[in-house]
C-alpha cells in the first residue's frame, strides 16, 4: 500500500491504496463520491469522466497513484456554492438531456471541459467532443442541445428537429 494525497473538489484528501487501485475506485470506494460512475470499465463509455488538473480523463483508465498531488474535480463539485445546479446541469434539466441519468455525470464533466476551452462550440464540435461518452437513452440529441444552451447559444435550429 502507498499513501497519496490529492485535492478533490477543493478539499484535500488522503488515503492509502494498492498500485492496482484505479482512480475511479479510490473516488468511489474510499472517498464515497459515487456520482462518478463505472459503465464499461474498458475506457469506452465515459461515465467515469472527471477532470484531473483541469483536463478531462477517464477515471477507470488511470491509477489512483498517478493522481497523487493532483487537483481533481468530480460531478459532486459542479453545483453552485449555494447547492443550486450550475449552468450546464440546469441546461441538461431544461432540455431533457437525460433519461436514466447513468451517463450524465460523465456528460456534464465532458461538457464542462469543452466549454472551458471553447465557450461557443458549434453543434459539430460538441458531437465530436462527446465521442468518448456513450448514452443509450437519449440518442444524444438533447444532450447536444443542452450543451449548446449552456453556452448561451440558440438551440432552435439544431439537426434532426
Amino acid at each position: 500500500m502507498s499513501n497519496l494525497t490529492m485535492t478533490v473538489n477543493g478539499k484535500t484528501v488522503s488515503g492509502s491504496v494498492e498500485g492496482r487501485t484505479l482512480l475511479v475506485e479510490f473516488i468511489r470506494n474510499d472517498l464515497h463520491l459515487t456520482g462518478t460512475h463505472v459503465g464499461c470499465d474498458t475506457s469506452q463509455c465515459g461515465a467515469c469522466a472527471i477532470h484531473v488538473d483541469g483536463k478531462l480523463v477517464k477515471a477507470c483508465t488511470m491509477f489512483a497513484l498517478e493522481a497523487n498531488g493532483a487537483e481533481v474535480s468530480t460531478i459532486e463539485g459542479q453545483a453552485n456554492g449555494d447547492g443550486s445546479l450550475n449552468v450546464i446541469q440546469q441546461a441538461f434539466k431544461d432540455h431533457h438531456g437525460l433519461q436514466c441519468g447513468f451517463c450524465t455525470p460523465g456528460m456534464v464533466m465532458a461538457a464542462a471541459a469543452l466549454l472551458k476551452t471553447n465557450p461557443k462550440p458549434s453543434e459539430l464540435e460538441i458531437r465530436e467532443h462527446l465521442e468518448g461518452n456513450i448514452c443509450r437513452c437519449t440518442g444524444y440529441h438533447n444532450i447536444v442541445k443542452a450543451i449548446l444552451a449552456a453556452s448561451g447559444q440558440d438551440v432552435s435550429s439544431i439537426a434532426a428537429e
Partner: protein, 262 residues
C-alpha cells in the same frame, strides 16, 4: 485487476533502473496498457509509470527546423501546439476521444506499435528519429512488425524528432466502433521527395508504399496514383474489412492525402 508493484520515477535514469527488474513494464498514458491489463492480456509484475518525468514532456523547435516531441507528451498537447505541422496536428487531434487524448502519449503509441495506431504512420512517413535513453533510431529501422519495435526491454522513448515537411496530410478511414484506423495514410512532401506510410492495413504493421512514393516523386499529383495497385496478400482481414477492401482503401486514402497536401 491483479496486483503489481507500482513505481513512479521522477527521472529517466531512475525509470531505466526500475525497468531492469524482471517482468517490469513501462506505462505511458495507459490508454492501451491499462485496458490490456484488465483483460490479463498483459501482466507485468512491476509497472513503471513514465508520467511523472518532466524531462519527457513538451515540444520544441530545433535549430534545423525539426521538431522534438517528448515521449511523455499527450496527444492533446501535440494537437494544440503551434509548431506542429498540419498532417501531424490532424492526426493527434483525431486519436481516440478527448479524454483519451489527455492521457495517451506519443511515446506510448510508438513503443506499442499497434498495427492500427496512427502515430507510427506519421513517424515513418516524415522520417522521424526515435530518441531513446541510449541511442537514436530512424523510423525506417524502428518498426519491425505488428507490436514489435527495435526497443530493448529497458529502453524508453525519451523524445521523437520530426523533420518539418513542406506539406503533409493524414487520411484515416476509421473503423466505426473502435475509431482506430481501418486504413490510415500519412503523406509527407519534402519538395523533391515524398514519403507515404500506411497503418491499419498490413499484417506486418506500418509500412511505406514505395510504388506510390516513386510515382509521386515523378509527378506530385493524385493522377499519379490512379494506375497503381497494391498487393492484398499481406493485408489484415477481419470482420470489418477483407484484404482486398483494405488494399483498395490504401489507394483511396493515398489519393486523398495527395489531394489534401497539394
Amino acid at each position: 485487476m491483479y496486483n503489481f508493484e507500482f513505481k513512479q520515477p521522477k527521472t529517466i535514469s531512475d525509470a531505466v533502473n526500475a525497468l531492469e527488474s524482471d517482468e517490469a513494464q513501462a506505462l505511458g498514458g495507459g490508454q492501451t496498457l491499462i485496458p490490456t491489463m484488465k483483460q490479463r492480456l498483459a501482466s507485468p509484475s512491476t509497472l513503471v509509470s513514465l508520467t511523472a518525468i518532466p524531462e519527457m514532456k513538451g515540444i520544441c523547435k530545433n535549430d534545423d527546423g525539426s521538431i522534438s516531441i517528448g515521449g511523455g507528451t499527450t496527444h492533446a498537447d501535440v494537437a494544440s501546439h503551434s509548431d506542429i505541422f498540419s498532417g501531424l496536428k490532424t492526426l493527434a487531434e483525431n486519436i481516440g476521444d478527448a479524454a483519451v487524448r489527455n492521457r495517451g502519449t506519443i511515446g506510448g503509441s510508438l513503443a506499442n506499435n499497434d498495427p492500427a495506431a496512427c502515430y507510427p504512420a506519421a513517424a515513418l512517413s516524415a522520417g522521424a528519429t526515435i530518441v531513446t535513453n541510449n541511442r537514436e533510431i530512424s523510423a525506417d529501422d524502428f518498426f519491425q512488425g505488428m507490436f514489435d519495435t527495435a526497443l530493448e526491454e529497458d529502453e524508453i522513448i525519451v523524445s521523437v524528432k520530426f523533420p518539418n515537411p513542406s506539406s503533409s496530410s493524414y487520411q484515416k478511414f476509421v473503423q466505426p466502433a473502435s475509431r482506430f484506423a481501418m486504413v490510415g495514410v500519412f503523406l509527407s512532401n519534402f519538395g523533391n521527395k515524398t514519403r507515404v506510410a500506411v497503418t491499419g492495413a498490413s499484417e506486418g504493421g506500418v509500412f511505406r508504399w514505395s510504388e506510390a512514393e516513386a510515382a509521386l516523386n515523378k509527378n506530385f499529383s493524385d493522377d499519379s496514383i490512379i494506375d497503381l495497385s497494391i498487393d492484398h496478400k499481406d493485408m489484415i482481414e477481419d470482420i470489418h474489412a477483407s484484404k482486398e477492401y483494405r488494399a483498395h482503401l490504401v489507394k483511396v486514402m493515398t489519393k486523398r492525402a495527395v489531394a489534401s497536401a497539394s
